[in-house]
């Protein structure tokens, strides 16, 4: 656990500016077993202290890899000097943002460590199960990844906090090829919030997941190429979560709105059918913990849900304290930094399309000629909302019935056009949290959604 050298340093803060002082440690543990070869066997820790100072519309920031009283004083001094330098040259003359009442929040979770040997043995048992039971696979890989961010924050106004976000996952990759030699890869992440020892107790408990992934891989081995064109599809929960994050979420981050994103001209306008609502959840979803909970952000703002789309109308942005002032909105705890040496940026937390009332089986039976797209292996979008998602698993739908699996393809569209075509939303929610969002810095994020019936461009061959 981080030693507290932060609390009590407020007297060192300069008056008439906003100051954030943060100590942080990021831990990573990783094991890669490729075809039984231990290709990665790594433990890393990065720790240090940083300060950020806001003065008249500009920020100064400084960080040091040391964590000592001297380092705390040094980063406060350098950050203040940098803010003064910028203010004297740029002269924006913007005032301070509204204050947040002082409070404190104590640590609510303890990070625990595991010997590397235990990780390796765990992964080896799974790998051995795959190798023995499914020898005909072209190749296999099992990855264990555990990471955590622990932060101590002291701010000139707002919440002083001690927080930690730990995640642990096992990733399974199975490879084979079709009779025509087309390579097939399927992967599945298993895990979520918490220490490895909390998530994983017995490798045998994961064997059914291996079996399910193998079955899907074999279905795909017999798969066909999708027919290219503008098609009616049902997006699975992984895909609607990706859509919420990549194609809509980024465009409603207020810093990107100021950079000219499509959301700049669409506030309080219809951007989706009235079946679509979208929220960036802070820490709680339907009374339970959201995948990666954020209770206070790195500007000392208490986190609350940000409603982005309500019944098809774009209702809000995600903000820092600075952009919230600019747009006359309430900051809701979206300013987060990845490493001690990173400044807080506007980031998503747990972004999701809300579930509706339709049943998946009714949605499938309603499609005469289309696809049910269940899994994605990557996604990209730009600030116009135009998106591209890689489809790693899906099925054709013919006359209301699921048909053959399809081979890898891509879908594309423009988010605020495509969301207007959503005409059925399922009642089942799927969450994921195993990836990193990239925006100058990486950041662990959660995303989720129900199945959506809509129209997109699908790539064929």
């Amino acid at each position: 656990m981080l030693q507290d050298m932060i609390t009590g340093k407020r007297p060192l803060f300069v008056s008439d500016v906003h100051t954030e002082l943060r100590a942080q440690v990021n831990r990573k543990r990783r094991i890669n077993l490729l075809q039984g070869n231990l290709t990665t066997n790594v433990r890393t820790e990065e720790s240090g202290v940083s300060a950020r100072v806001y003065k008249n519309g500009v920020y100064g920031f400084s960080s040091m890899a040391d964590y000592s009283n001297e380092a705390v004083q040094a980063v406060l001094k350098a950050a203040t000097e940098n803010a003064v330098f910028m203010d004297s040259h740029i002269k924006k003359g913007k005032g301070m943002f509204p204050t947040i009442p002082f409070a404190t929040q104590a640590l609510n979770y303890q990070v625990s460590d595991v010997d590397q040997k235990r990780y390796i043995e765990f992964v080896k048992e799974i790998d051995n199960y795959i190798a023995v039971k499914y020898p005909s696979l072209a190749s296999r890989m099992v990855i264990m990844s555990e990471d955590s961010m622990e932060k101590l924050l002291s701010v000139s106004d707002g919440l002083d906090t001690h927080t930690v976000i730990p995640r642990s996952y096992i990733y399974l990759f199975l490879n084979t090829e079709t009779k025509d030699g087309v390579p097939i890869e399927q992967f599945k992440p298993i895990g979520g919030f918490g220490n490895f020892s909390d998530q994983f107790t017995d490798p045998a408990l994961l064997f059914p997941e291996v079996d399910k992934l193998y079955d899907v891989t074999m279905q795909k081995k017999e798969g066909i190429y999708a027919e290219a064109g503008y098609k009616t599809v049902i997006l699975g929960g992984d895909l609607s979560g990706m859509l919420a994050h990549e194609a809509v979420g980024h465009t409603v981050e207020a810093d990107l709105v100021l950079g000219g994103s499509v959301a700049a001209h669409n506030l309080n306008k219809r951007v989706a059918s009235d079946l679509v609502s979208m929220v960036d959840f802070a820490h709680t979803y339907e009374g339970a913990m959201a995948p990666l909970p954020v209770y206070v952000d790195d500007e000392g703002t208490p986190a609350e849900d940000a409603v982005l789309i309500k019944e098809g109308i774009l209702t809000g942005y995600m903000n820092s304290r600075e952009t919230a002032k600019h747009f006359d909105m309430k900051p809701q705890g979206n300013a987060r930094a990845y490493l001690f040496s990173d400044e807080p940026l506007i980031r998503m937390r747990n972004t999701a399309v809300l579930p509706g009332k339709s049943k998946l089986e009714d949605m499938i039976s309603s499609v005469e000629d289309g696809y049910y797209l269940t899994n994605t292996n990557n996604g990209q979008a730009d600030t116009t909302g135009e998106f591209m998602f890689g489809i790693s698993m899906g099925y054709e739908i013919k006359n209301g019935k699921l048909g053959r699996a399809i081979l890898d393809t891509t879908i594309s569209g423009v988010a605020f056009d495509m969301l207007k075509t959503v005409d059925m939303v399922s009642d089942k929610m799927t969450w994921s949290s195993s990836g990193f969002c990239g925006k100058k810095q990486p950041m662990p994020v959660g995303m989720g959604g129900p199945q959506l019936r809509c129209k997109v461009m699908i790539g064929g061959r």
Binding site: V58, F61, S63, I90, A228
Partner: protein, 432 residues
Amino acid sequence: MDDVKKIAQGTIEALQAEGAEKAQCTALVSEKREFNVDGGEFSLFRTLFDKSLSLMAIKGHKKGNIAINRFDDEAVAAAVKDCIAVAESASEDEAWDIAPKQEDRKVVQGAPEADVDLLFSRTKELLKDINERFPKIIVEQMIVSHEKTNKVYCNTSGSVFDVTDGVYEVSVMFSGHEGEVASSFFGSGVITADLDTPFIELGTLKKDLADVEQQIHQKPFEGKFTGTILLTPGCLGSFISSIVSNFASDGVLLDGTSLWKNKLDTKVADERITIHIRPEDDRIVCPEVYTNEGFLSEGYDLIQKGVLKQFKLSLYVANKTGHPRAKNSAFSCVIEPGDTSYEDMVKNIKKGIIVGRFSGGNPGTNGEFSGVAKNSFLVEDGKITGAISETMINGNLADILNNLVAISKETVCDGMDVLPYMAFDGIVISGK
């Protein structure tokens, strides 16, 4: 100031004392100064003081890695013990190894000392140049920095490399706007060792800004055809990176899924294509001095006149597969230019598109790719007829290398790679 060399050497001695038969260590200190512009306005000035210590130990043919960012005695001692424990936990694998003794090197390259005032002036000048010369452009984010790093590598073979680098880096994300109509965003960047030239004159920044202004009124087109794609240098770099990753890198050679696994010294591309991985090229800023395993870096040809000459392999995978290791672990890609001007390349296209950026899924190991052509123009009968949106391209990474139309005689260097424009045929291009 930490004595980086002393820390690296002390760490190697400690790893040996703890039983490591072979070990390597890199100690690094860095200072970074960075200006940020967001939404077209200066927003942030950062000063970062960082350090890292990376350890690798091999004991009984078992390998472990540890990385920390502290140099104090207690932290280093704990990291050494942890590294040995991690190695002892691993499986035996005789392929793990490090380089034998190399000639020691002490290198200072680039611009080790930052001129912060001039850096700030050049940054302001760039913002002013963009605002005045490209008024329809909104700078979403601009990051301009100088970073000085001093790293010392030591290993149990007795090699010591002491390298100090200083690099200025410019990265700009922008989009074009007219009222509510906007182009896709685009990123352009360059690294440089001096501040002699206005930033707007470096790399492809000026052309990229001009192109994006022309893409504001991008439109989807109807239909589907098989035609030519002309890749800009920046877009070509991402395709070459995918080709290397799919056919010539560690993972696909180790698991045997590379289409090129049996193709060393055979033709895999048009004979006009030569791809060097050449850190010693004098256009590359602060090139790699030594490899990840402690060899002195040398250039090599990945593809020479269409023939595959080398995989991009680490020592470990080279030992596992029996193929030669790559003589550097950088990606300083230098592609030989052709004899056609860019202008003539466009004129020679019957029907195709100029692709500025590709937003696609990860290509399969068979090289099939599919994705959206971003920041792109339609070309018909040798003329650019408009910017396009919502356009998908499908093809195969292995096939395109044999479907080369032309390579430009112009090349562009962004400080990291030297790349021409390249045009390929046989791509399926689908509109809405």
